[in-house]
């Protein structure tokens, strides 16, 4: 059953991601991207990462895609994206090569799986981890990163 869901989601995800780069109409491409985000949230669920799945929807679908849509609306040539440029073929080749390399690596590595049951819910342990054990500093650094992103974005956007 879960296998089926996995393959279903995988098909959706792959189709959506291919559509993102193939579809000319950039708004539709953005919608395909949203589809991808949703299916990734589905994977997260399958992987027992319920909190992250919800956050994926909240952040990616609710915020990032909105920003992308705003960007699409604001910039010209929106309706018909620019043509793909000439690197098309060797970009495909590079992608394929990388994929083969990766797949080779993945399939030839044996991971040691502990086989312990996954946690029932993740939000509590994540909280414990983030603010309790050792991740406090990264959290604050993330805050600083966000702050610098705000400052940067404002600085870039500011009226000159």
């Amino acid at each position: 059953m879960l296998d089926l869901i996995f393959y279903l989601l995988a098909v959706i995800a792959l189709a959506a991601s291919i559509a993102v780069i193939m579809v000319r109409d950039i708004f539709r491409a953005a919608l395909c991207l949203i589809m991808l985000f949703m299916s990734v949230a589905g994977f997260f669920l399958l992987l027992h990462a319920d909190f992250l799945a919800i956050v994926q929807v909240l952040i990616y679908v609710g915020a990032i895609s909105i920003l992308i849509i705003v960007a699409i609306m604001l910039t010209r040539d929106a309706r018909h994206g620019l043509p793909l440029d000439n690197y098309k073929y060797w970009a495909g080749a590079v992608g394929l090569l990388l994929l083969i390399a990766l797949a080779y690596g993945i399939l030839n590595t044996t991971f040691t799986l502990p086989g312990t049951a996954p946690l029932e819910q993740t939000i509590q342990p994540i909280g414990q981890q983030l603010f309790g054990n050792g991740y406090v500093l990264p959290v604050e650094i993330a805050a600083v990163l966000l702050l610098s992103a705000i400052l940067g974005a404002i600085a870039v956007l500011r009226d000159k």
Binding site: A10, V70, R76, T116, L119, P125, Q129, L145, A149, V156
Partner: protein, 105 residues
Amino acid sequence: MMFSVGLDHYLILSAILFCIGLVGVITQRNVIKLIMCLEIMLNAVNITLIAFSQYITPTLLTGQIFAIFVMVVAAAEVAVGIAIVFSIYRSRESVDMENFNILKW
């Protein structure tokens, strides 16, 4: 419950997604689409992280924590990226990568 889909499946899947994203990043000339492709790549990375977390350290959730930080980075990247797009669009009125040559700008 039966769970025959294993870590490998997720890793392969995210590898494919990553490569699609990569191809997109190389080929796209529209900056917004380029950012979208970057998002695909980051999502692929997230899937990997969480898959590892789930299969290798199911109780520690290190991968999930890492994924959170990836999301933060992704958000920052998109925000700044789009801000730059806007900023350049203001002066160049284009979203073509060709025009994003920072030296000329």
